[in-house]
Structures are given as C-alpha cells and as structure tokens.
Amino acid sequence: MIEVRNIYKSFGENKVLEDISFVFEQGKCNLLIGESGSGKTTLAKCMVGLQLPDSGAILYGNRNFVQMNFDEQKKIRKEIGMLFQGGALFDSMTVEDNVMFPLTMFTNKTAEEMRERANFCLNRVKLPNAGKLYPAELSGGMKKRVAIARAISAEPHYLICDEPNSGLDPRTSIVIDELIKEITYEYNITTIVITHDMNSVLEIGDNVAFLYKGHLLWKGNKEQILHADQKELIDFVYATKFLKEFRKRVVE
C-alpha cells in the first residue's frame, strides 16, 4: 500500500499539486486519471523521488519516503518497478540485458540464473524470442512489454506505470492493460497506472483518482465512474461527441 497525504508541489508560481491525499491499495490497479497537465506525472515523480514535494507525506507501508535520506530512499526504490511513458529501455543493451539489469545490479545471482529469470519475464509479457534484439528493433508495444518485463524482473512490491498506452493502437493497449492487471493480481503488488485513456479506466480501474488542475476532485472505481456527478469528471469521461450521445441515451 502507498498513501500520499496532503501533497503540495509547485514550480515557481505555478501550483501543480494542491493538498493531494489518496491511498493506493495493495493487490489492486490504482489509476490516476486526468487531463494533460493535471499533475498526474508530477505526483508519480514525487512518489518515486524524482521530484521533491513542497510538503506532505508519502508512505510506503508506514515508511515516510519524503523524510528519508538518499540511502534509505534507495532501499525503497529497489522495491519499485516503473514503466516510463517511452519505455526508457537502455539503447546500448539487448532486450535480455535490459531485463536482467536490475538483477545484475542488486543480486548475487549467477549469470545463468539471471538469464533464466529474464527469459521467464519475457515469456510472461509474451515476448519469448526478443531477448537478443536491441530496443531500436522493437515496435512501440514491444518496448512497453519489455519495460514491464524489466520492471517485474526484480519482483517489486510496487509497480508504477506512466501512461502505458500512450502511442499504442487500441488492440495493443488492451494487451498492455490485461498484462498489468494479471501481474498485479498474480503477485499481489500495489500498481499505480497514470493514464487519460478511458478504455483503461473501464478495463482495470479497481481504484480511481481523478486529478484536475492539481486538485483531487474524485475517488471511486470503474463501476462508479460512469455515474459520477462531478462536472469536471463528466467532461473528462464523456469527452467525445459519441460518448456525450451515449451518456444522454444510456446513463441519464
């Protein structure tokens, strides 16, 4: 479980996050949704220490990440797997080496054991034959899957995915969503997905937080979101003409 309490963050005069409090539950897909610029990625970056919040607490279990020193934060970070928007695979390494990388750095496993684990993770994301390829040889969807394999290779307790579906076609998006859901339930980890894709919300949104201009306006789940009566959330969920029509006919 990760809990954020009263998080504030600003860049100069620009207030990006204001009084954000939310509990990301273990064994569930927790979704942070909102328009571009609403503060989702900034909140995620604060949670992994890539940015410092101005005030507030970020609790991993009962350990406050914000008050830790560099070495204590490092311990927590080793429990986190993160999927970046662009994959962030290391260009100079093969897919197999990318997946093995966290193991190489932090475990004393033999090369054979690490290779075995890497291949297991690649199989898990349905890329059994991609080990010898370089990231430049992969499609966008494959890169995301390799990034997921790398994120889970060191058996993390927390998985944070920053817009896992961005730039992907709808079918590949569904594959990625299903993969994230399966991994979350299978390993009982705390997963946080940052997205503005409503298909993902309806597919995997066990626990959803809606951010709007740096404020947390709504909390709920995928069943509740279609019937929410929060104006900004309605505008976000039913953004297209088709969905507006759908709401008029079905929901209202």
Binding site: L50, I76, K78, I80, A88, F101
Partner: protein, 246 residues
C-alpha cells in the same frame, strides 16, 4: 551569480559521482568499455594529427631558423619542445574535448531526455556514479598513454618529413631532440594531460546530465560541453604552466 550556480551544481554532481560504486564488477566492466571507446577509439585521429603536426613544426622551424647563428640541430630541439610541452598535451586535449566531450554530452543527454537516467534513479542506482565515474576514470587512465603515443608520433613525423624533404639531416634532427633533454618536461605534460582529461569528461558529463528538452537541447548541450571544456583547458594550461614551470 550564474557562474557560481553552475559551479555549485557541478560540485554537487561530482560529490554524487565519487560515491562508492554500486558493484565493483559492474564498474570494472564499464571502465574497460570506456577505455576502449574513449581511448582506443581516439587513437586513429591522435596518430594522424600528431604525425602531420610534427612534420609541419619541423619544416616551419627549419625555414625560420635559416641563419648562420642558429645551429642546425635547433630544428629537432624546437620540434621536441613544441611537441612535448604544448602540442601533445594541450592541442591533442583540445581535439579530444571536441571528439570525446561531444560524444559524452550527447550520450548522457540523450539518456536524460529519453528518461533512461530517471529509470536508473527509480531502480535505486546512483546514475551519476554509474554513468560518469567509469568515463572519468577511463579518461584519466588512458589519456596519458594517448599523449605519450602522440609525442612519439609527432617527433617521428618531424623526422620522417624533415629528412624526407631534405630540410634537416637525420643526424642533426636526432641530436636536436636529445639536446639538453629534461625529463621533467614529460612529467609536466602528463600532469597537464590528467587535469585536462578530468576537465573534458566531468564538464561534458555535467552538460549532458542536466540536459532538459529534446534533440535540439542535446545538440546544444554537446556544443556547450566542447566550448566550456576548451576554455577551461586553456585556462588551466596557463595556470599549470605558471605553477610547474615558473
């Protein structure tokens, strides 16, 4: 104020770079890769430039020393002094600032804008230490060898073209390069080389590491890395010459 801000940020980055490496075996592997990439990879250009510059210095010296009062071996002497004291340590370091410095800044800058550095940080890896320390150590270890090779090839190039074009005889040239040789000249050159190697890698890494934006900014960081490394090399050349030779 701007200068102080950058100096402080550079200093803080170096503090992170010089922390203990995550795993020594990984550091050793990275170090060997960097020695190959930064050192062995630069050998070709260093060799070509050294041979031709040695030749030009010899021919220029021979034509300018065209006087009955200047002994013929002065051509060899001038070539030796020019190559060992300034050309090899300083000019080759400036060339390496262009070649190696831009490569380091663009490599680290690209890793920054494509979130690869963020990925390292999130994994709990000290990215500054992991990426920069092997480069810095490799340059400090391998550049003195490059410079010694450059000295040898520069003096050899001077002999080859000097004797080949007939501006100096082999005996006079060799006598000149041995005349009143002080080994401290080589020590002075190697001290400068180590300092310049540190400047090239650390300044270029700094510019790459703090790149923000996209491809355009990576290019700008690469240019800045070369410009600032070159200026600092010239500044430290003056300081070290005054300190070591005065």
């Amino acid at each position: 104020m701007h200068l102080l801000y950058h100096f402080g940020k550079y200093y803080l980055l170096l503090l992170r770079v010089f922390r203990k490496a995550e795993k020594f075996s990984i550091f050793k592997r990275q170090l060997l890769l960097e020695i190959n990439s930064l050192g062995i990879g630069s050998l070709g250009i260093v060799a070509i430039i050294s041979v031709f510059m040695g030749a030009v210095i010899t021919i220029q010296a021979a034509f300018n020393f065209n006087s009955a009062w200047i002994p013929l071996y002065a051509t060899g002497l001038a070539t030796r002094q020019g190559i060992i004291l300034e050309f090899s340590p300083t000019i080759i370091s400036l060339i390496l600032a262009g070649k190696v410095g831009s490569s380091i800044a663009s490599e680290i800058g690209t890793m920054r804008v494509s979130e690869q550095i963020d990925a390292l940080e999130v994994m709990g890896i000290n990215s500054a230490n992991y990426l920069i320390l092997p480069k810095l150590t490799a340059a400090v270890l391998i550049n003195p060898f490059l410079i010694v090779i450059s000295m040898f090839l520069g003096i050899f190039g001077g002999w080859l073209f000097g004797v080949g074009t007939g501006v100096v005889t082999s005996y006079e040239y060799i006598y000149g390069i041995q005349y009143q040789f002080r080994p401290f000249g080589v020590t002075y050159a190697l001290i400068k080389t180590v300092v310049f190697a540190f400047i090239i890698t650390s300044v270029s890494s700094y510019h790459g590491y703090y790149t923000t934006g996209g491809a355009l900014e990576v290019g700008q960081a690469s240019t800045r890395a070369v410009v600032y490394s070159s200026i600092l090399i010239l500044l430290f050349n003056l300081l070290l010459t005054q300190l070591l030779m005065a």
